[in-house]
Symmetry: D2
Subunit: 284 residues, 4 copies
Amino acid sequence: MTTSTAILQLICPDRPGLVSQLSGWVADHGGNILHADHHTDAGAGLFLSRIEWDLKGFRLTREAILLSVDSLANKLGGKVQVSFSDQLSRVAIFASQQSHCLLDLLWRADNGELPMKVPLVVSNHMDLKSLCENFGVAFEFVPIESDRKEDAEIIILDLLKKYQIDLVVLAKYMQILTGKFLEEFSQVINIHHSFLPAFKGAQPYHRAWERGVKLIGATAHYVTEDLDDGPIIEQLIANVSHRDEVNDLIRKGRDTERIALARAVRLHLRCQVMVYSGKTAIFA
Amino acid sequence: MTTSTAILQLICPDRPGLVSQLSGWVADHGGNILHADHHTDAGAGLFLSRIEWDLKGFRLTREAILLSVDSLANKLGGKVQVSFSDQLSRVAIFASQQSHCLLDLLWRADNGELPMKVPLVVSNHMDLKSLCENFGVAFEFVPIESDRKEDAEIIILDLLKKYQIDLVVLAKYMQILTGKFLEEFSQVINIHHSFLPAFKGAQPYHRAWERGVKLIGATAHYVTEDLDDGPIIEQLIANVSHRDEVNDLIRKGRDTERIALARAVRLHLRCQVMVYSGKTAIFA
Amino acid sequence: MTTSTAILQLICPDRPGLVSQLSGWVADHGGNILHADHHTDAGAGLFLSRIEWDLKGFRLTREAILLSVDSLANKLGGKVQVSFSDQLSRVAIFASQQSHCLLDLLWRADNGELPMKVPLVVSNHMDLKSLCENFGVAFEFVPIESDRKEDAEIIILDLLKKYQIDLVVLAKYMQILTGKFLEEFSQVINIHHSFLPAFKGAQPYHRAWERGVKLIGATAHYVTEDLDDGPIIEQLIANVSHRDEVNDLIRKGRDTERIALARAVRLHLRCQVMVYSGKTAIFA
Amino acid sequence: MTTSTAILQLICPDRPGLVSQLSGWVADHGGNILHADHHTDAGAGLFLSRIEWDLKGFRLTREAILLSVDSLANKLGGKVQVSFSDQLSRVAIFASQQSHCLLDLLWRADNGELPMKVPLVVSNHMDLKSLCENFGVAFEFVPIESDRKEDAEIIILDLLKKYQIDLVVLAKYMQILTGKFLEEFSQVINIHHSFLPAFKGAQPYHRAWERGVKLIGATAHYVTEDLDDGPIIEQLIANVSHRDEVNDLIRKGRDTERIALARAVRLHLRCQVMVYSGKTAIFA
């Protein structure tokens, strides 16, 4: 029953007539727009648009769409991306020893809730191997020695190529990717266990407990070289009280982490996130 | 610094090309679209659209816009409404003895947060007279005798005409408007002190307390003849525990009530609410 | 590092001196109170108390505690229950075809987050068999034919005896237990997919969608013969908008369902829930 | 109908028997405990207790209570405080130009929701004078010149003495109190417009907007010399999106600010907050 759709995401300098131009282009080729969402950042002088239309009856082939859209982007001096809803993203999940985010993502993929295929899990520990096997996912053990991290990253980059990965999700991976890695592969979503920018860095729950905060949070964000400074996709909080020990914060945090991460991944996979000026616009 | 904008709201049978047609119409007359939001209800076969554009440089007069848009609506077999951001709605607030929602709305109007003018408060009690005087708002005392309610409503309808009221907000008015009243004046927003459809009718906090719920709510909705069944605009909840007595529910509820009501009124005044099939689409 | 504790839960008619009497009894036998929480329901004239103390150094054996506490309850005309934190409850989970609540509970048990042992899953469908096998839990298939429900319930009651079950959790079981069953086994927690008392009964998400609510909920409650009227333990909500189809409500609801259910089960297992007058007091 | 109660708050080194000792003391003098709440901070080795009992029928005078409790505190090596529910705190509110928190607190006091008397408002601007007059509260204008702040603080301290103030609430005062001031008068609650420790210092909404967070917050805390580092009493958040400009954050923030502040003040006035190790325990 679900039809295939095309999704166009455009960022370009703002000027009058853009909505009309984009929607006119879709209509001219027989497309029926299902969702259209736009945003103008007046300060940055930018126009952002996401248009999704039914491919049934659309008179351009996918190749022709890509060509036509590229020329449009050139004309507008902007950047454009087209995705097709029936082409599932191939996602690699990186994990360490904690299972909650990994299990959650695998279950949601199985479930159809996350439109993705997970062919690969990478981990620096062996703990989650059997969990991956239960879901029929390849588990690749790549230990990280702190003084030979680049060697490990080379192995991992090879795996990403071999498995044709589109997106990496850090599901409590607890390792920092180098700038070099990110240059090679930049589509990476991370979950940080605090409401950023509070408690950047290590042991946020311990520090939250020491500070005596009344709420803890989790932040899903794109990974950039500046640790915990990437564009934020989703944030979620939970209430805590003086009765909560650090372990309770960790326990409560697991629920905010996995839900914030799953929401962020879903938004990304459905092409509902656009990044600009170090932030995101979420067209949901 | 703020410019005047025009806002078009359209509901019509869905068909391909509508987004393009609407945005094309704006662009053709030199308008720059600031916000465009659409929704298709596949089940109902309806297309809903809200487009807001800058009036600066737009080549049609306001009268010409109204004419042109009417002819568009006819062609599409739909209903259309155009509003101008610089024409403040004239709002009458109906209250009874509780001050929290009334004070909140008057303060937000004063404050510029709610784009409205409040020339009139109607009440069946005298309690809130001086509050209104503090804000320089006319206070009209219209007592309601249960067997002569229609007489009171005739007086009220006259006041609405005299003060050229566009919208009535029931700020804990605790009186049910008759179908006859609503036929004469139908733009009415109410705040009900429960998360509808739970606890319709009288004394929702008492019944919530008896039931032992763990959360209470407030619902802002358009008023229809069927009590508490009108289209919902906004809902908000608060957590409660066994330690809360009925009075605590009432106290906590005041905050959810006034915030839910203020949000709903703001959405309405900014033409961000569209009603169809007994529900609302909120273009926020 | 964790010590074993004893937990006393008492409900009795209110009168002065009860807190002192209970805590004095603990102190007199060398117990160190770790948590003490009390509640007086003035309307019902009832006193509720939960006291947890360290068993290390306590001078009564567990048998002597039970005897002593029983005589105390008799004297006070109340009901008392004593639990020991190191005696894990044996929990049977009843499921149908949806996996989210079942998987979540099994994972949390594995994880140590829920202090319970799950020796048994009962289902009227085969879908979740392999999930149970992954966790090493016995899966018993007991189909329900609508005209022979009592036969199925007899089989199930036998399983509960065989596996020495203390608590049954209905994890989206989608079957109504008869009054007869509940007479035999009354410790049952259910998750209902609405914020009760709204949308009691079947298909709450469909009805929520039709009503156009702006928030959906989930309610974990003890099961009583009156469907969806049992004492509420936990409620959770999620925001929805006009863009959400029924399927989106179902998807969003899964997260509220599993978290509300897990919280309720945890509260029950830690003896933090006390039931009286059709409601619960939560000592958390 | 409401009876007068006494509230004892104790912090002392933890040891067995404290709950029994305290509740025994109340019972021995004929007191009926209405609320009793305790907390043990195992790491700090501290026991915190809040006990509230009915004064009706209690056999000690208020003076005798104070004496008796002092000797108890000495024996336990702890700190104790006794308050009586019928002795309303005298609160001074400090404000600047924004009205929302001030209006909210005055309304809640009027309303009986906050058990306090507000004899005095201090401000460094004239804007809120008439608001105070509407509520019959003395408005004292004390301008702050940055190089003569101490002179202003001396005037303010005199006002606090003159009006016999127990608690100062900074309702968006936008001025930093000096350490010298706090030495003279230390009971001060502030509202900071971020979820601390994120965005300490100036212009938190601007910085939140630049960072692209998806939620903003407000933090009510006791004031200490280290700016924004005082013990946190209450935190509240609101969701924001890319559509929100800085002004929208400020607008949305007003609601979280006034509610977080009102809750914190209420908790303080009801003696439900205990401060230790730079944090608070909230006995609510």
